[in-house]
């Protein structure tokens, strides 16, 4: 490219122009040529190489530690390695492993997977006659293993080379511990957990993070934030507020997603993958709980300040003694507690069920519900607002942080994860925890775990809860025009005065068009569900 240089005409000199040209040419060469090969071609070749040759080996994944753990002093975290005294992180790694090498801790109620069986007879050097509880297909594969579950060699693994379903004969490699008839064994121990890890790493990790801390790479773009499982608290379950969530509940959330949030539905995944993910998420939650239990134990046995930040040399002796001695016992006790809680969550006794069937959805029931909603007994309107739009006075208040007993820096309600949580706008018709009457009943009766939504079941009778359910389910249809626009345009819902507490007259229409509730005027009955 050559432009006439105006300076040259004014006689400033040709040398300047010359330099500029060289300069331009040099840049050109720099940018587009490398050892005579055009860089574009080079980049293309490189890309082809990367694509064809597979990408780089990804860095090893790791379970991140919680902020509280990171705040601990070095000896509390890693112990005294020179004296072989394990710290918190060592214990955590020992019990749970890393994302690449998972450890199965039998203290936890996790279904690690595999085919459970029993040795019937030992035949020869490397043959075992076994009986499995489940169907195992004949295989010939070098990669599979048998894990010993009883006797002296508990936890040890034996490589297996073949299995025949007809003769129920397992061919082992001959190495490893010798087994006897009656020994309990598991083929492919940990299969479910590692399948869960694979599927979790495919579908969930980018939001929920490797360790379930709700801080994956895409998490920062989401509102509400993805759940941090590590406290073991999940919002939407069928179990009582004080208990953990059941496998069914978790599976249901993964299958259906959570409307109104970024949690999508994974309905089309095969059932075994869903089960595996559920199990892996439970396991991650327990890992988080275990980590937290250890921090709490350390903090309560010394003091928060003593185990925090910079190591305190004068603590060395007592800390050594503690880490070596009673620490193990104490955290095992905590682990037993939450393990028991997780186990109970899958039993029928903690499921919240109404004592009475749903109260018929009549105008009178809705009205009673409305009165309850506005009453001091439930204080629903304090957060959800008089019209249920999620704008109650509490959303403008500065609340106390229950942990620090200080006011939060921003107004509004806060959840157990320290984030501002909006009371649900009940007029949108979006129900995060499910839209079945029983879902709403459970939300109202036992509240929502980890949020300020309280257990109203303590102050309300089940009939009253049903009245509230009926009222809440009718809220999205309040204030709509009685006859929708049938011309194909969207009917614009106008929020005309919903007068709290005004008793609706008993004018009931059964026509489809008047199933809308015109505030304070015509209230329509909902067609009874097919069940009754």
């Amino acid at each position: 490219m050559w432009h006439r240089n105006p300076k040259r005409e004014r006689g400033i000199g040709p040398s300047l122009t010359f330099r500029v040209r060289i300069g331009m040419q040099t840049t050109y060469v720099d940018r587009c040529n490398f050892l005579g090969i055009p860089t574009r071609l080079l980049a293309g070749l490189l890309l082809c190489l990367l694509v064809c040759g597979g990408c780089f080996q990804p860095p090893d994944a790791e379970f991140s530690l919680s902020e509280r753990t990171k705040g601990l002093s070095q000896p509390a975290r890693t112990g005294y390695p020179e004296e072989q005294i394990p710290g918190l992180e060592d214990r955590l790694a020992d019990r749970f492993g890393t994302p690449n090498v998972l450890h199965a801790w039998m203290r936890l109620p996790v279904n690690y997977g595999g085919h459970i069986g029993k040795v019937v007879e030992v035949t020869g050097e490397a043959g075992l006659n076994v009986s499995f509880g489940t169907d195992v297909e004949t295989f010939q594969d070098e990669d599979r293993t048998l894990t010993v579950m009883s006797g002296d060699h508990i936890g040890e693994t034996i490589p297996v080379s073949a299995y025949s379903a007809e003769s129920a004969l397992i061919q082992t490699s001959g190495s490893g511990p010798a087994l006897a008839a009656g020994d309990r064994i598991v083929l492919d121990f940990g299969a479910t957990l590692s399948a869960g890890r694979r599927d979790y790493m495919t579908h969930c990790v980018h939001c929920h993070g490797t360790g379930g801390d709700g801080n994956g790479p895409t998490a920062q773009y989401l509102n509400p934030r993805p759940r941090d499982y590590r406290s073991g608290v999940f919002k939407f379950g069928s179990t009582a507020r004080t208990s953990r969530i059941s496998r069914d509940d978790l599976g249901r959330i993964i299958r259906n997603g959570i409307p109104g949030t970024y949690m999508p539905s994974f309905m089309l995944l095969p059932d075994d993958e869903l089960t595996a993910i559920t199990e892996y998420v439970r396991w991650l939650a327990m890992r988080g709980e275990y980590e937290r239990a250890m921090v709490i134990e350390l903090e309560s046995d010394f003091s928060k300040e003593a185990v925090k930040g910079t190591p305190q040399p004068e603590l060395r002796e007592s800390l050594t003694e503690f880490l070596q001695g009673e620490f193990e016992e104490m955290i095992n006790e905590s682990a037993d507690l939450f393990a028991e809680a997780w186990k109970t969550a899958d039993t029928d006794e903690v499921i919240v069920r109404p004592d009475v069937p749903r109260v018929p959805d009549t105008p009178e029931s809705r009205h009673r519900g409305r009165m309850l909603f506005l009453s001091d007994k439930t204080k629903c309107a304090n957060c959800h607002g008089e019209r249920g739009r999620g704008d109650g006075p509490q959303t403008q208040d500065y609340a106390d942080n229950p942990l620090t007993r200080k006011k939060y820096p921003e107004p509004g309600l806060h959840d157990a994860w320290g984030q501002v949580v909006k009371p649900r706008d009940l007029t949108t018709g979006i129900y995060r925890g499910g839209r079945r009457p029983i879902d709403l009943f459970r939300r109202i009766h036992d509240g929502i775990n980890g949020t300020p939504m309280p257990e109203n079941g303590k102050v309300l009778k089940d009939e009253e809860v049903w009245d509230l359910v009926n009222f809440v389910l009718s809220m999205p249809f309040e204030g709509r025009p009685a006859v929708p626009d049938t011309a194909g345009r969207m009917a614009h819902a106008t929020q005309r005065g919903v007068i709290p507490g005004e008793l609706p007259p008993a004018g009931i229409s059964t026509a489809r068009q008047t199933t809308f509730v015109n505030p304070g005027r015509a209230v329509a009955s909902k067609p009874p569900p097919a069940t009754r």
Binding site: T218, D249, R252, Y262, R353, P437, S474, P527
Partner: protein
């Protein structure tokens, strides 16, 4: 060397023509046969255009070859002849392709109209569901069994996600919406693709004669989770479809009371 080039340049048209001829029977163009009658007609249009293009391609190649070989056969001492073009030829090769394009434009109008223009939808088409695309899933709203689909939500509507059930053997219509950004309702087997545009309710109709499961994906890059937006269209006979809705209704009205018939089946 001469033979090599000759053969090479003969080979290409042969490969191209063979590919065009074999492709329909080998299913190279489409993911299987179209599962809907209208899809079949869209495929027919595609093949018609394919045939026309093939004929034109072969014709022009033959003409080109003829000119090249004829020119090569001339002796060296023949003087070059300059032409200022032939008005007649220019007119012919303007009008013929123009005619073909016009023909295509009119010929496909029926199919296009039936697919996209409300007035030309099948008379008996009935809206069965509202499909709302959302980052990153398909939320589906059915009317209660025996009720028409209303534009606004009704208290007895039924909801599912990523699982669209439709009856077989009659044209059905869905109202397509989006809750956030632009998405596209794409079912390759049905040859249906329609953008979902914020603020609009777009009717999309299709007919599935055969029972089966068909893919529904998003065909508009809608965000980081675009790849997650896969759903299923399950086509089943009328009676089963109704049964499905009734089951859904029972599940959705579950009040968890133990004596209830639909007790916790949704769990």
């Amino acid at each position: 060397m001469k033979t090599f080039w000759c053969l090479l340049f003969v080979l290409w048209p042969i490969i191209a023509i063979t590919a065009c001829v074999v492709a329909p029977s080998m299913n190279w163009w489409f993911p299987g046969e179209a599962a809907s009658p209208l899809g079949q007609r869209i495929d027919d249009l595609f093949y018609l255009i394919n045939v026309i293009v093939t004929l034109v391609f072969v014709g022009t190649q033959i003409a080109l070859g003829y000119v090249l070989f004829k020119g090569a056969a001339k002796r060296d001492d023949d003087k070059a002849w300059f032409s200022h073009g032939s008005h007649k030829l220019e007119v012919i090769w303007t009008i013929v392709p123009g005619g073909i394009l016009l023909f295509l434009a009119f010929y496909q109008m029926d199919v296009w109209g039936e697919f996209r223009i409300k007035g030309h939808f099948p008379k008996d088409v009935e809206a069965v569901a509202e499909v709302t695309a959302r980052q990153f899933e398909w939320r589906i709203r059915y009317p209660a069994p025996g009720r028409p689909l209303m534009q606004d939500r009704q208290p007895d509507d039924l909801y599912t996600v990523n699982d669209l059930h439709v009856p077989t053997g009659r044209p059905v219509l869905i109202n397509l919406r989006t809750a956030d950004v632009q998405h596209a309702f794409f079912s390759p087997e049905l040859r249906v693709k329609q953008d979902a545009v914020p603020g609009l309710i777009i009717p999309v109709w299709f007919e599935i004669p055969k029972r089966g499961e068909y893919t529904l994906t998003c065909a508009e890059l809608c965000g980081w989770g675009h790849y997650k937006m896969k759903a299923r269209i399950a086509a089943e006979p009328e009676a089963e479809f109704r049964q499905y809705l009734e089951q859904l209704q029972i599940e959705q009205n579950d009040d968890g009371f133990p004596d209830d018939a639909g007790e916790d089946e949704g769990d």
